[in-house]
């Protein structure tokens, strides 16, 4: 190989190395440009929905079952036969009877930059429930102030529970909303019961009783409507 060819080869090798390095750099930049969701959203309280029998309720008009989440300002609606509990985490819980509709707002003041002076009470977290229909029970934890409003802005304010621990549950039903009360008693298994169970179980296995709906307290047996 002549000297000229050697030089050409060297130049070509350097050029290729440079080109590969450029591609690598560009790819690495492209990699770091993927979105960071955490940078888009401020830390805030997101609360959990639990429904009876994992049946769906409506959160802002969208079907939501147990394990779903909601942020402040959500409109929650329970259908007939389905109750729900909103776990507000450190703030408490909100129970909704079937056929209820509420607007739920909650907030906690940001932590002060400096520790508060001794003797001064920190500002409480607030939970505000506007009941549009149905019955609700609001249970707040220590340091949370609960408030229930009606659509007509009537107010039932819960005492600030900072000093005496958790506040008393606050019940409210809109006029005309029936109080949901149902108690089931579990009896021992006698022969008659067993016979009834066998017959009933057989019917259920055959799908006879399921045909009418009813809403058994079962887990999600249909795993996912998704495309696997």
């Amino acid at each position: 190989m002549s000297i000229r060819q050697q030089k050409t080869m060297k130049a070509l090798a350097i050029f290729l190395a440079f080109a590969v390095a450029q591609i690598s750099i560009q790819l690495s930049f492209a990699g770091t440009a993927s979105p960071s969701y955490a940078m888009l959203v401020q830390q805030q309280l997101v609360v959990r929905v639990t429904t009876s029998g994992n049946r769906p309720i409506l959160v802002n008009g969208n079907s939501t079952a147990s394990g779903g989440s909601l942020a402040t300002g959500a409109t929650i609606e329970t259908p007939d036969g389905v109750s729900a509990t909103i776990d507000l985490g450190p703030l408490g819980t909100l129970d909704l009877a079937p056929n209820s509709k509420v607007v739920l707002e909650f907030e906690c003041p940001p932590p002060p930059p400096t520790p508060p002076a001794p003797g001064t009470e920190p500002e409480p977290c607030k939970v505000k429930v506007k009941v549009l229909a149905g019955c609700v029970v609001l249970k707040t934890k220590k340091g949370t102030q609960g408030q229930i409003d009606t659509e007509q802005q009537e107010k039932v304010r819960q005492d600030d529970s900072k000093k005496k621990g958790a506040g008393a549950p606050l019940n409210f039903c809109t006029p005309g909303a029936g109080a949901a009360a149902a108690a089931a008693t579990a009896a021992g298994l006698g022969i008659g019961t067993i016979i009834a169970v066998v017959i009933g179980g057989g019917l259920l296995a055959g799908g006879v009783l399921f045909a009418g709906g009813g809403g058994p307290p079962v887990f999600i047996t249909n795993p996912s409507p998704s495309t696997p």
Binding site: Y37, V46, G214, P217, F219, S226
Partner: protein, 457 residues
């Protein structure tokens, strides 16, 4: 000696290709050996019999217990009976279904720890079932154990990596514990897999972004027509018309129902100009907007009337009391048709007989022209045209003189109105003026034609 039937059954076990002689010889040898060595004593025979009966009884009992347990499982799942579920577990403790049924029945009780234990037992018996892990994750989450819940959801996702629900549940948990990056990755993948989650994802993103449409579009990373359509509808109904239009364009061609919903949502939020754009797209009329100035569409009633119109063309109520609205080609004022409204008795005076939504500019003066003709109109409450603000307080901005009673030829009528500083659209309505007494019937035929609007200097 074995019977012929037994010998035949034995022969079936002999591989093909063996000769009948060899077969017969083998069968004979076998049964002779058994006969001679084992079954020749009565006590041995009895022992064999007892063992066989015992085995059968054992199998029958196990099968019966298993079957009964499964029936109990069905019953407890159907009724939520805890006692029956517990009984099923005792009957078949190695059957994961019984533990799962008990766990399902326990969901009604406040004892979450026992519920979690039952699920863990069911999982130990059948660890590959992702739904059980998912349920365990939910229960642990309810027990205030997010770390345990996350572990369970991780297992569920590991076993069903392409299914939506495990990822959706894990994403929600991660969201609540503030791990937004992982949360939205999971939520997006879940929505990608199952588009039913898209509206929930958009709503969550909207809430968490404090109603910032730009952030919502960054959080929802599912690039599909379904997502763009859902976002378009969402933004339209949440007062973000520009974003709605942008998403609608990204979605490409969409069905008429979606366009109708979009128009309704935009109109509901007072986004008249954007609704007009979508309406024109839906009608295939191009993108001309306000540039050509305000206009009354089909002022000559040349096109067919649509009783389902919810946009910017003539709106005719599908049910009118004692009134018939139709197109008439007998004696039009201009063009080839006019509108014919026939009154045959007691119609409600305040009801709109016909209306049209018209885009206008705020704080301007306009003039509406039209031609009317009456035939044998008899009433105490004559027809009239009214212009009202399409949003806000729906204030009346102008009205025509009362249309003629009796019989007249075509008359050209004009009236002015001024839009308010906040007015973006007006509604032109044909109705009747109220009577001084009730009832207020009307008889005769009113014909209308040649509607136009002009902006006054």
């Amino acid at each position: 000696m074995p019977s012929e039937r037994t010998r035949h059954a034995f022969s079936l076990l002999i591989p093909l290709g063996w000769s009948q002689t060899a077969l017969s010889s083998a069968a004979n040898n076998f049964f002779n050996t058994v006969n001679s060595k084992l079954l020749e004593h009565g006590a041995t025979r009895l022992l064999f019999l007892l063992v066989a009966i015992g085995l059968c009884a054992c199998v029958v009992t196990s099968t019966a217990r298993f079957g009964l347990a499964r029936i109990f499982v069905k019953y407890s799942l159907g009724t939520g009976n805890l006692t029956v579920a517990e009984q099923a577990t005792e009957m078949a403790p190695r059957d994961p279904e019984t533990h799962r049924a008990w766990a399902a029945a326990l969901t009604l009780s406040p004892n979450r720890a026992e519920l979690a234990r039952e699920l863990e037992q069911a999982i130990a018996l059948r660890p590959s079932d992702y739904t059980q892990w998912e349920e365990l994750g939910l229960v642990r989450d309810q027990m205030g154990d997010p770390a345990g819940a996350l572990t369970a959801f991780d297992e569920a996702v590991k076993r069903a990596p392409f299914y939506a629900l495990p990822r959706w549940q894990r994403g929600n948990l991660l969201l609540r514990i503030g791990q937004y990056d992982s949360a939205f990755t999971d939520l997006n993948q879940a929505a990608q897999s199952n588009p039913e989650f898209i509206p929930n994802l958009i709503d969550l993103a909207w809430s968490l972004s404090h109603s910032d449409p730009k952030v919502v579009q960054q959080l929802v990373q599912v690039n599909s027509k379904t997502t763009h359509t859902a976002m378009a509808k969402f933004f339209a109904s949440h007062g973000e018309p520009q974003e709605a239009i942008s998403q609608l364009r990204a979605a490409g061609s969409v069905d008429d129902e979606t366009l109708r919903q979009m128009i309704d949502n935009l109109l509901g939020k007072g986004s008249f100009s954007e609704a007009y754009q979508v309406w024109r797209t839906a009608k295939g009329l191009g993108n001309a907007g306000l540039q050509s100035g305000p206009q009354i569409l089909d002022g000559g009633f040349e096109a067919a009337l649509n009783f389902d119109e919810g946009g910017f063309s003539w709106r005719v109520p599908s049910r009118l009391q004692a009134t018939t609205v139709s197109l008439d080609s007998s004696q039009p004022h201009t063009g080839s048709k006019s509108l014919r409204i026939e009154f045959v008795g007691g119609s409600y005076p305040g009801a709109a007989l016909l209306s049209q939504l018209i885009l206008v500019e705020p704080g301007r003066h306009y003039k509406i022209n039209f031609a009317s003709r009456s035939q044998d109109i008899v009433t105490g409450g004559l027809p009239i045209l009214i212009v009202t603000d399409a949003s806000g307080d729906h204030r009346t901005l102008g009205q025509s003189p009362l249309l003629s009673k009796g019989t007249t030829n075509w008359n050209v009528v004009s009236f002015d109105f001024a839009s308010q500083p906040t007015t973006k659209a007006v509604v032109l309505t044909i109705q009747r003026q109220g009577c001084s007494t009730a009832p207020c019937p009307i008889f005769g035929v009113l014909s209308l034609d040649s509607f136009s609007i002009e902006q006054l200097k």
